[in-house]
Amino acid sequence: MTVYNGRIWLMLENNELIDDIDTDMIYHNKYLAITDKSQMGQYTFDNLKGYEDFAKKAQPNDIVIVGENFGSGSSRQQAVDCFDDLGVICVMALSYGAIYKRNAINSGYPILTIKELDRSGLQSGDTLNIDTDSGTIEKDGLVIGRVQPLSTVQKDILAAGNVFEYAKGL
């Protein structure tokens, strides 16, 4: 059973989850020369309007919630690794860019896809409990939404650590 329990960030603009956050907004290309993962977290979202100070305020165990087409744009792995470095335990989006999805899954970083979410009464800082087996999103013991169950692929790779570790076991 995989459960993610943490404090949420609702990434909003005009009270809507932000769509089309591209890889330059997540991790700007001016930091691409950085190869040490432990240096990446500090720049997360510093190019996303309204969230420039995200990295300073984020805490280990946080969960990031975003809209459609998250991670569109370039193929940079740093846009996945920066969340891992900050200790953000998972990202939940309505949908992802195709390459971002490949990168996240291959590197064993949990990305979850939201099927439904009742945002009334929900705000950043609340604590949610997400069970990827039952697919439920709970707040204070009440189900307020659902995520897509993890695919076998994603489970296999998460269990191994990353796609390269997974291949060693074959």
Binding site: S75, A98, K101, R102, I105, N106, S151, T152, V153, Q154, D156, V163, F164, Y166, A167, K168, L170
Partner: protein, 416 residues
């Protein structure tokens, strides 16, 4: 429930149900790396799996085509890194003289209808032309497949594209392709598989099918899959040396959208510089002077394409001041063109004929355009800077050849 072709292929290569939107493991029949990306695949293998073998060397290939033979030290080094690794691992290399990797896979009968192949080439989805699933990927993804023999895909939704009408006599598969790219743009097919239907599609020969499938990438599609007709199956069987089976979608397959491309009264088409989908009738731009012409690439570098260009220029001369080049896609095609006297016609007309490969499409192999230079190319991409500093229009071999003769953008009908 009925399945589309991509669903059927993925189903056949997986233990899981191939439902659109679902991520499943898929066995990969052919794994390849080209000189672009290949050296990094080797590096990844050495980093992540030191001392370990590839999953199945008989299904693993290197194909050099981007920069052949190498004209930069970086490419020469990369090719040599691949060769040394391949030698140690006993992996077959289609070296700098073989031609464009995706074409070689088809021509050698390595990949068959219904099969799966991946490689470090963003146009490997050309394999859709024979009804196979092909996909280009990054060097980490490919290293993983070299080792695992399988990879994961999200099963894409499929769009049904009905091509309405017969291709007029003065138009070719390339005009149909450009019309389709212009109609769909870059958003309609984003992340989806395409299937094409209609009498014109049914009768397209393999080279025309390759042309159409090669531009799925420019429509942001995962792949354009075509149901093989008898002629295609025949060609694949001959390449393989044994009979091969076809593949077709189920009659009750589910499509996420239907699009119609109307080719009634179609006129020769051309993409204007910068955007492959900025497509207009050739006649609307036929006053533009042309400085250089390139005929070749994975889109239009087959025997039939180059022969079609030769028929336009036969007995004529390129306009003085215009540079024309021809690059057959593969060595086998080159030999046939040579034996049939086609290359002679082109050389007589003033074209430079170069050795097989990506040629004018990549890395300045047979020259690039300078600032302000206008080029007509039969390749698939005309993004700024892709083929030099000039302006590149994309058109059919016939239009490209005619433009070389006239010294301005022209259709074959205008050449007298």
């Amino acid at each position: 429930m009925g399945q589309t072709m991509v669903e059927k292929i993925m189903q056949k290569h997986s233990d899981e149900d191939a439902e659109p939107g679902k991520i499943i493991w898929i066995d990969i029949d052919i794994r390849s790396a080209r000189d672009f990306g290949g050296a990094n695949v080797v590096k990844n293998m050495n980093t992540y799996y030191p001392g370990e073998k590839v999953h199945d060397r008989s299904k693993t290939y290197f194909t050099f085509d981007c920069n052949v033979p190498a004209n930069t030290i970086a490419y020469a080094n990369n090719q040599h890194i691949c060769r040394k690794y391949a030698k140690g691992e006993e992996i077959k290399v289609y070296d700098v003289d073989a031609g464009i990797g995706s074409h070689v896979l088809i021509e050698e009968g390595l990949l068959l209808p219904g099969g799966t192949g991946v490689g470090t080439d963003s146009h490997l989805n050309i394999l859709g032309s024979i009804g196979a699933f092909g996909q280009g990927m990054g060097d980490q993804d490919i290293a993983f497949v070299f080792k695992a023999g399988k990879t994961w895909f999200e099963v894409p939704e499929t769009i049904r594209i009905d091509v309405d009408g017969q291709l007029p006599a003065d138009c070719s598969a390339r005009d149909l392709t450009l019309k389709t790219v212009g109609t769909l743009g870059t958003k309609t097919a984003l992340g989806k598989a395409q299937e094409f239907f209609g009498p014109t599609i049914d009768s397209l020969d393999l080279s025309g099918r390759i042309t159409l499938s090669s531009m799925a990438t420019e429509m942001s599609a995962i792949i354009a899959l075509l149901q093989p007709n008898e002629a295609v199956l025949q060609e694949c069987s001959e390449a393989r040396g044994s009979p091969v089976e076809g593949i077709a979608p189920d009659p009750d397959a589910t499509y996420s959208a239907n699009v119609t491309v109307d080719i009634n009264g179609l006129k020769p088409q051309i993409s204007r510089p910068g955007k492959p989908h900025d497509v207009v009738d050739v006649e609307t731009v036929n006053d533009v002077p042309v400085d250089s012409v390139f005929i070749g690439s994975c889109t239009n570098g087959r025997y039939e394409d180059i022969k079609a260009a030769a028929m336009v220029v036969k007995g004529k001369k390129i306009k003085p001041g215009v540079f024309g080049s021809v690059v057959p896609a593969t060595r086998k095609g080159y030999i046939r063109l040579m034996k049939d006297g086609i290359l002679e016609i082109l050389v007589d007309a003033g074209f430079l004929v170069s050795n097989p490969g990506c040629g004018g499409c990549a890395s300045g192999q047979i020259g690039m355009t300078g600032e302000g230079q206008v080029q007509i190319s039969t390749s698939n991409r005309n993004y700024t800077g892709k083929q030099g500093a000039g302006f590149t229009y994309l058109a059919s071999p016939e239009t490209a050849a005619a433009s070389a003769i006239m010294g301005r953008i022209a259709t074959a009908e205008e050449v007298v």
